[in-house]
Amino acid sequence: MQSWRRKSLWLALLASWLLVLLGLFPLLRLSVPTSPWAGAPQGWPRWLDAELLQSFAKPGELLEDGPRPPQALRGGSCNWGACFDTSKCRGGGLKVFVYPAAGPVSETRRRILASVEGSRYHTLSAAEACLLLLLSPDTSTGECDPVPPQWDGGRNHLVLSLHPAPCPRTFQLGQAMVAEASPTVDTFRPGFDVALPLLPEAHPLRGGAPGQLRQHSPRPGVALLALAEDGGRWHVAGTDFSACPWDGRCEQDRGPKQTHPGATLPNATFCLIPGRGPDVLHFLQALQVLTALQEMPLTRVLALRQQTQFLWDAYFSSVEKVIHTTLEVRGIHLMGALVFGSASSLPLSMPLSSDTSSALIIQDRIFGPSAHPSLLWNSPPGAILALPTFSPSPSDFPFYHLQQGSRPLGRFSALIWGGAPGQPPLKLIQAVAGSQHCAQILVLWSSEKPPPTRWPKTAVPLTVIDGHRKVSDRFFPYSAISTDAILSLDAHSSLSTSEVDFAFVVWQSFPERMVGFLTWSHFWDEARGGWGYTAKRTNEFSMVLTSAAFYHRYYHTLFTHALPKALRTLADEAPTCVDVLMNFLVASVTKLPPIKVPYGMWHQEARPPPLEPGGPGLRQEPQPAAQNCINQMAAGFGHMPLVSSRLRLDPVLFKDPVSVLRKKYRSLEKP
């Protein structure tokens, strides 16, 4: 009995302990609800009866939601199609009429007027204009404009104000588009209005200084971040800033690292321009922005750096660029927001988010859809130089083959500029037609005399085009040109088939550049205080002669439609200038030198005697009058775009002491 009793007692004790433990266990679990050992909660439950759930819409609901008549337009909000009469632009493309200024005109305003008037969009008639440009009154004159005569509720108007208006507008903006710097989110109509950069008074009219970066990657040991402070000062944070987390403690350290007001931008990888919010630093800390910047992969830092330079150079560096960007090339492609990414909502400024490719959003509703606005806007050379009217397909341009994974078409068109009396250039035609890459030969006949009736028989089609007897004709985008590559020739050029073949193969590797045989180089002439150029053989060159050069046919479109008319007229008046002009154009687009390929010296000896002056033909040493043209071009472009090169591309085995049988381009080596 006793033992039974003891046993049962122990058993009861044991059982009760067990009970207590089991009872405690769930209590423990509750007391630490989020600890991971508690069975790792799986979030949203998997419902047993999930299969039985109804769809959010009844079967017919998505198909028939009750038709409704088109809505009448509500005031206050505008978008394309609603507030813009595109039919006015169908005829002559984008024609812009500028209301003449009343009273004195400020410098900025004069610059804007000049840049519109000098552009190809400008028209003098308000009736035929597709867009009417109204410059907002200046701060300096202080006069308020009356309602313009053709206002019509602001339809097809663009009101441009680079500075905040000094007086309240006397009229409602209504359906007019507004282009202004720092618009507020509340009044800005995305996709309709345009946000502009705030331009300093001294912003150059044309050209503009290139970006300041001289290398792709940041220098080692450079500060990570510089913070803009009041009065144009910058506070530079070193790479070791993480030890000093932007709280009160670091405030004291600020003194020595500050720059003086007016100093150039600080030497830092990122620059931060805080908005008006007082607690930017608090914000940065909360979102660990600095850590994110520090951990940002090098690849992205490099991309951001380069993109700042590209954007600056393509759209910001001059008044003209800003205005053209606003108008966009032929068709009011509006920049939806120049507020980079969400710069207005987060005080992270341009260098941080400038490669968010949505930075520039264009609306090209007038001229129909264009395929890749983003690519055109966000990669070199930029949308001002990549005319969307040229082609909807980026692969047709010389610039985007890498991004598109495409290649330029495998053949070329020879464009021979002729017009001098005498026999057709038989030898030249035979040599060019002998190339396996030649697709067609076009003879641009530019003489008073009728072209010869008989042309040599060639393996490829030969077409004679009647030119307009102007030198600039040779760069007109003739529809007969069917290939990406053009081999531009003079009737008196002398080339061998081997030279043509090799040069074309080289061009395929550099489709955005000019590939030529004869070169000129430019130099700064201290004595005359201007630019000069020479045809003398030197160790470097910056121009190739278009009397024998390969280039992309897109440059004909650019030459004819994007160059200011004044420059083309200049070239027509001084024919040697046309080479300079074409080289300026290509260099300002590519920012790179042209490419030289070997050219047999024997051509020069076999050359016919010089031709009548002024006519197209061989251009040897530029005449003194022509020397002036390079300076006029430089003034027209606003800067000197030419870049020098010190190399020539030769065939791999060029003049090597190996059996000539191994060489593919053996005839290039003729003495």
């Binding site: 109804q54 028939e64 038709p67 987060l346 129909g368 991004q403 085995l653």
Partner: protein
Amino acid sequence: MCASVKYNIRGPALIPRMKTKHRIYYITLFSIVLLGLIATGMFQFWPHSIESSSDWSVQKRSIRDVPVVRLPADSPVPERGDLSCRMHTCFDVYRCGFNPKNKIKVYIYSLKKYVDDAGVPVSSTISQEYNELLTAVADSDYYTEDIARACLFIPSIDLLNQNALRVKETAQALAQLSRWDRGTNHLLFNMLPGGPPDYNTALDVPRDRALLAGGGFSTWTYRQGYDVSIPVYSPLSAEVDLPEKGPGPRRYFLLSSQMALHPEYREELAALQARHGEAVLVLDKCTNLSEGIPAARKRCHKHQVFDYPQVLQEATFCVVPRGARLGQAVLSDVLWAGCIPVIIADSYILPFSEVLDWKRASVAVPEEKMSDVYSILQSIPQRQIEEMQRQARWFWEAYFQSIKAIALATLQIINDRIYPYAAISYEDWNDPPSVKWGSVSNPLFLPLIPPQSQGFTAIVLTYDRVESLFRVITEVSKVPSLSKLLVVWNNQNKNPPDDSLWPKIRVPLKVVRTAENKLSNRFFPYDEIETEAVLAIDDDIIMLTSDELQFGYEVWREFPDRLVGYPGRLHLWDHEMSKWKYESEWTNEVSMVLTGAAFYHKYFNYLYTYKMPGDIKNWVDAHMNCEDIAMNFLVANVTGKAVIKVTPRKKFKCPECTAIDGLSLDQTHMVERSECINKFASVFGTMPLKVVEHRADPVLYKDDFPEKLKSFPNIGSL
């Protein structure tokens, strides 16, 4: 959270007493203990119906069992949506500060059933799609269980279809959420907003500052940069299988499949059909379908019956006009079929338009231009049409296909706004995989010729050939643009020579000792490299002249994104063996340069060390060979460009010693190098090397010109 409930259920704990005299007492005690045990056991292992939310998830549960919440009639209603809200005014970013790695954390409220005072439910508890949506969020990286650390809150109240809920009561339900706080940082999903007769374009439920992911926004209701425009999901996507149809011409040019079209639109379309005949097909509801066939799957034109959505694949363009609502589920079907949507709905904010470039996949035609739609579409070139067809299908696959895709795209957009510096790029959002695969985005894309004054850093990899090393150092130091010399001492068993023994040169000389004898040490991004240009040079390359090296640097400046080297090599496709072959003969082409002496941008050192695909880096170190081929592959792959061979130089070791070109050694060497090419091509998944027929020489090289006037006269030996 239900702790109090728990205490009430549990029985009182039992404490057995030691002193007692009656057997009956023990038996009672024993049975009580036993009962207690059983009760506890049952409590432990029984499905917990009213347990804490964390316990729910572990088990499968039924929706019928969700807790019921009664909303008093006078409970607060949120303000109407604040139209002026923007991320910087209405969104509290500080809540996102806890989130690691630039990722917002999202909390989902637990599911409840809301009833009014009379016990009538406010809405159906949850729809199939909303359940899918919340499941997708909960399964994603965004999800957190911890309400205190969440940055974004998603109510489990289903708002997808406004017709299925009671507006005021739903708003009251929102207002009583534990972290509601005027809706700050709350995200609501809605696909069918508004209701008859005026069909508002945004959800009518008052929601104060909450973000709205809505289908069918118009420019008047959409808060740019705050709301997210989402598609109206088409449940057909889950029911039907519609294999991709390649781009190209299709039977109909323009098709309309909408059942409920306003008569005005239908007249316009009928007129188009009359004018263009077969090219235009206008479909309508079928009137005489036999029983059992769902109306959603058939469309009719006169008496002809078509299968839907298959018929959409027969058309190049499909019109998507506005209905009562701006957002139409048919948009999803149209994209799915690879038909280019023609959006005829003025002021409609297209789905995900914040990030998606709709111009690449659709055509927008103003409502008043509807009669011109045919001519507008005709003006689009065929090449662009094909691109748009591909793009349309890709948009569907990536962002429309499933509720999950819609939910994750929405969260990604919000995430990108909060961490713009870590945002997904335009290309990643918009480029279909085929484009991403074929295209190259050169990391050094800016056309820039670095100034000559920067100079270059020469990196000499050496093991123990001190004498030869010193000769190389002396030679290289004669190059005008050299700015620093870095010797990478790869021998761990031997110390580098004493400081006093090194040649005295005009630029800083630095010796780096490595921890292991690895070939990849040559391509390490040493902090000591301050210039962008790097000259990698072996410790036995003594033949290169100063002119050759200086010219090489000049060429690199003109091509800073390429490998610029001296002896060139070629890869060839061996048709017999069906594999790649390494070629070092006298060829007219080059695709590689040897890195025994080559200029390149120092960024490629970073890429080689940290971003080399696959196991190539280790493989090279293990085989002690082909590091140069690996570098050639790497650079060609990221830039899409060919190498530049400079000068005629064919060999750069001593011309008389033919060890490396010796016959027997040459054989194995060539086999090994060929193997490397095949190995790398398979790791890269492609052959990135580009073949060119040119090399770079000085402008006046071998020209009939006085030698002393040439910049680089001492060039030309092999």
